[in-house]
Amino acid sequence: MTWRQDKTLWGLTIGLAALLLLNFVVPDWFRSILTLSLARGSVALGLLVLWRCGLISFGHALYFGVGAYTVGLMSRYLGITDAFLTIACGVVTAGLLAYGLGFLLRQYRGIFFALLNMAFSMILYGVLAKLEELGSTDGISLETTTYLWYAPLGAENKTALFVFAVILTWGVAVLVHLYLRSTLGNMTTAVRENEIRLGYLGYSGERAVHAKFVVSGLLGGFGGAIAALTIGHVDPDSMVYWPVSGDFVFIAILSGTGNVTAPFIGALIYELIRTYAFDKFPEIWQLIMGGTLLAIIMFLPNGLWSLVDRWRGRKAAVATLRTGKEEA
């Protein structure tokens, strides 16, 4: 399949253009929601990579948090506010952490994998909440972001960040898409269904998982860094605590694993649902979120993307969460 035939690449690029145009239309609050959706979407994309091979992490707030805190700490202690540099560091740190933990985690599957991730994220939460140097539960506020020589203020800064985030996210999504097309990235069903066979074909499932885990870690860090810049503040409760990981999984389910664009759409919808639930029913917004999630699981098991697939008259991609029963 050549570049020109790749619908997803086209889709992503059109999406990029659309968002950049949208920048001039939308009000500020919506722009910041969009930017956040890009951040959360990236993490969900990371989950998608794992999910395709039947793995899911209930602790990806760990990488999200590491990405975010790297940015926060650089701003606080080194006075570095350059978006390019901080994001790069955030991504790398998260990636390294994922690489390290990967050696342990790659041995686990199913619910153990999910929960062990949660355990690690909770350890980070403990550390952050404990240490005043890391801002404790009050967290750390960032200095105003700069972009190389460009140092806009106020609303202009947010616009800059949005454009910046959109372009970066586009790049990331494209890379992930290419990865998923590669031999390594295609080891999804293989890992999910039959690692023994994969081993006898000449590649170990654990290595494949490790690679995927690092990819998802990098994405987590990227999302965290973007989020930190968008919010201008990092704190453990809204970035590392386990329900945050829950949100990411929520988004992943909502989106479905059909395509790399899905998580971003899912993230946006998630943000909107939350915003309005929060607005209109301040006392019971949780109930509404929960209800939505249930509804999705019950009636749209393969996520929103399955609608797109159905609408295209193509049967939902095989690489979905529900491996179902083997019927032979």
Binding site: A18, S141, I231, E283
Partner: protein, 437 residues
């Protein structure tokens, strides 16, 4: 192909957004947003009371039935359009919500925030969004010392937590020297508020009475853990008799229940820096002990300014219980807004003032709140100081409610650092420039 649902969706989103932006900000009211805990662990202690307090005062202001000097209708003549929303969910959510409230719903004033976490998160955003914001509770002194050094739109209309804990130190040194001769220890929740509370209290005591020694290890149980059996054992074993605790909410109530069953409060003297709220709630079940609070809740009992009398009676009428301090804090927030708007209007020759004029009016101001006067003397005129009151709480069968005995009042200048001095450094540096008597 893939793009189509996306672009289509965006278009929709944008349309929606524009529409909403248009719908917002209606002319003849002042839209006041009030964030407080409606769900989660903060709701019981803070959420309910603060919501009640705000709604009571807002109703009165819109009717113009508040006692003098606030007996005119509305803020600078415009009725208040009140939006109360949930503060739970951490900084990220609060920042997003604040944006929505201001940019989407065109809120003019924000009055509230309980947790230091939320305050720290939104502090800079407030300045970016240029929205007048009156913080009502959040403890941390870092707001004006680190986060927003040149505040314009951000105010806090209550002491920061340092004052309360320095007050506690003063009180211990003054009244509990004897109990504290074997030293003192702390049990505080393991998060910023609890950690700061202990640091300020401890340094305070060390400055005032170096001979009183702290235990070498303090307890910092997880926030909302609710299980204190082991901690209680530690406390019971310790030789120190005085225990400092900034516990609040379900945690303090659990600690009391579990402690009572093991005679903890017979052996130890507790200094609960925010125990007042709980004493209020659980009344008879509250163990006799030392409590802090400024001129709010229980401590406001005696104060009979017309405002305070009105508030206490109306509150009891409306909610069948006396107002606790969160009720006061939030109500005071609204009152402060009222003061600022009305004063600004006068200055503006009776015309409705611009936000800048309102800010001018509030900076460095001295004005009446329900049960006291506050001076906006710190943080370049954006951080309030009030006196801090301490006393011994116990159940009064005659009254059928809990009361505080031999109240000591510490002047605002005594428990607060002077302008321009970072609270932590001030306490560490031996609280220089404190004016006590």
């Amino acid at each position: 192909m893939n793009a189509i649902p996306r672009t289509r969706f965006m278009a929709l989103g944008a349309a929606l957004a524009v529409l909403l932006a248009a719908g917002a900000a209606s002319a003849q009211t002042v839209k006041v947003a009030v964030p407080t805990f409606l769900t989660g662990g903060g709701a019981p202690t803070y959420g309910t009371a603060s919501k009640n307090g705000v709604e009571l005062v807002v109703r009165a202001i819109n009717e113009g039935s508040l006692p003098a000097p606030y007996n005119s209708v509305g803020l600078a003549g415009r009725k208040i359009d009140l939006v109360v929303y949930d503060e739970s969910g951490g900084g990220t959510k609060q920042v997003t919500e604040l944006r929505n409230k201001v940019q989407k719903e065109g809120v003019d004033v924000v009055v509230g925030y309980v947790s230091s976490g939320s305050c720290a998160a939104i502090a800079r955003v407030v300045e970016e969004l240029r929205v007048l914001t009156l913080l009502t509770v959040c403890g941390t002194p870092r707001i004006f010392e680190e986060l927003v050094k040149e505040p314009k739109y951000l105010f806090r209309i209550i002491n920061h937590s340092t004052a309360g804990n320095v007050g506690a130190a003063h009180y211990v040194v003054k009244k509990l020297r004897n109990e504290a001769k074997d030293g003192y220890m702390g049990i505080n929740q393991n998060y910023a508020w609890g950690q700061d509370a202990w640091r300020d209290f401890n340094l305070g005591v060390q400055t005032l009475a170096p001979e009183l020694k702290p235990a070498n290890k303090q307890q910092f149980p997880k926030l909302f853990s609710g299980q204190y059996g082991t901690e209680i054992s530690v406390l019971l074993r310790a030789k120190q008799k005085v225990v400092h605790s900034s516990f609040w909410g379900g945690d303090i109530e659990a600690l009391i229940a579990q402690g009572k069953a093991r005679g903890l409060f017979k052996r130890k003297t507790f200094v609960f820096t925010v125990g007042e709220i709980t004493a209020h709630r659980i009344g008879k079940k509250f163990p006799p002990g030392q409590l802090a609070r400024g001129p709010y809740g229980l401590y406001a009992e005696g104060i009979d300014t017309p405002l305070n009398k009105w508030f206490r009676s109306e509150y009891r009428k409306a909610y069948k219980q006396p107002p606790s301090s969160p009720a006061y804090h939030y109500a005071d927030g609204i009152v402060a807004a009222k003061y600022a708007y009305d004063t600004a209007m006068k200055a503006n020759g009776g015309k409705f003032p611009s936000t800048d004029q309102v800010i001018k009016a509030l900076e460095h101001a001295t004005y009446d709140i329900l049960a006291a006067k506050v001076k906006m003397s710190l943080g370049k005129g954006h951080q309030a100081v009030t006196s801090d009151r301490w006393g011994y709480a116990e159940w009064d069968d005659a009254k059928g409610e809990i009361v505080v005995k031999d109240v000591v009042e510490f002047k605002a200048e005594c428990v607060n650092p002077p302008e321009g001095v970072n609270a932590a450094d001030w306490v560490k540096g031996g609280m220089k420039g404190a004016k006590c008597d």
